[in-house]
Amino acid sequence: MAELEGGGGGHKKGGKKPHGKKLSTRVDFTPMVDLGFLLITFFMLTTSMNKPKTMEINMPVQEGEKTPVPASQTMSIILTENDKVVYYFRDSKTGDPLTPQITDYSAGGIRSAILKENTSRNPNIDSIEIYKKMYRSNLIDEKQMKKHISFVKEFKDGLIVIIKADDKAKFKNLVDILDEMLICNVGRYAIVNLEEPEKELIKQAQTTLAATNP
């Protein structure tokens, strides 16, 4: 009987044979997950997400005519030692330098000076922010925004910043001041070499600073 049964149900699993213990198909994932997270941690720590950025500099072509600019429209900024910066304007009639001021790179320092000058000379400077807002709310596209902004920045009576640096200035200072040009929306600026008489102006500014806070 038993044999018959076994023969009849041949294709049946088990049959008379002792039932093998049914193994679960579940696998323990814990070691794999451990390894996975370990690798994630490794790659997260080694990945440097912030790619370096660049700032573009355009220097004037060396040979070729120089565009004369009215002295009264310029603001000369001289970068000097100990993260200090000297700036001065020129007299509108004679073109002689006015009393140099000394300040630093903080927001209340050179930035407020540039901003003040730039807004007083360029009546449309506030519209840059409006164009940026319009771009953010998709009223204008990027190209239009850039066109409008550069139009405002190129205003012909606007501020012209002349950047000079003495031998004790650091590279960081130069980048900082170029940054300020971006922040303050100064459209026209140039990096030029320091001239002899300006070294006197730096000294003058430094002595006044020393006199005011001994």
Binding site: G36, I40, M49, K51, K53, M55, A165, F171, D179, L182
Partner: protein, 200 residues
């Protein structure tokens, strides 16, 4: 009152979902990782609000270390091969095919021309140990100017990026800008690190 039997629940949790997420993240980070090429000098770039990303190709990079040493790098292997051949011709140094191939995989270097050949023939682990003294860039012996000029000849629209340490003194920067201007490069980039834009 009859005792309430709480059914015993299994403590094993289904980890499939977690594993999926973990491996998805892993794949992402593996693909996003770019290993830093070994640089002969550590440079801390100044921070700026500028947000223009640096291009990966068509660029030559001039690195200025804290101690005023100047390093040079050209991106793109095929251009590097052309560049070293041109420089060899200019300085009458015959580089073999093997040396040209080796030079193409060196990233940043800062050596005068007369030491370059010897440097190329070193093993890569020996190269790291060597203290490179920088490319001469003063007005007496301006090899940097040749590197810049020859690079421009290999590639028409190559851009120049200056990666200076934040504490580098201004005269060396001025010297390099002047060199660039002499070689008719009037547009270049400063490499900076990102900074949160200051709100005025």
């Amino acid at each position: 009152m009859p005792k309430v039997k709480i059914p015993r629940k299994s403590t094993t949790v289904d980890m499939t979902a977690m594993t999926d997420v973990a491996f998805l993240l892993l794949t992402f980070f593996m693909l996003a990782t770019q290993f830093k090429p070994d640089e002969p000098v550590q440079v801390v770039t100044p921070s700026s609000v500028s947000e223009i990303p640096i291009p990966d190709v068509g660029i030559m990079q001039i690195t200025i270390a804290k101690d005023n040493r100047v390093f040079f790098e050209m991106k793109g292997q095929q251009y590097k091969e052309q560049l070293i051949e041109r420089m060899g011709k200019k300085y009458q140094i015959a580089f073999s095919q093997d040396e040209i191939k080796k030079f193409a995989v060196i990233s940043t270097f800062g050596l005068p021309m007369n030491q370059l050949q010897q440097f190329i023939n070193l093993k890569s682990e020996e190269r790291i140990k060597i203290i490179q003294k920088g490319i001469p860039s003063d007005s007496l012996n301006n090899e940097l100017a040749d590197w810049i000029w020859q690079s421009r000849l290999t590639q028409n629209d190559v851009r120049v990026a200056i990666k200076g340490d934040q504490d580098v003194n201004y005269p060396i920067i001025r010297q390099i800008i002047r060199t660039l201007q002499e070689k008719k490069v009037n547009r270049f980039n400063f490499i900076t690190s990102a900074e949160v834009a200051a709100i005025k």
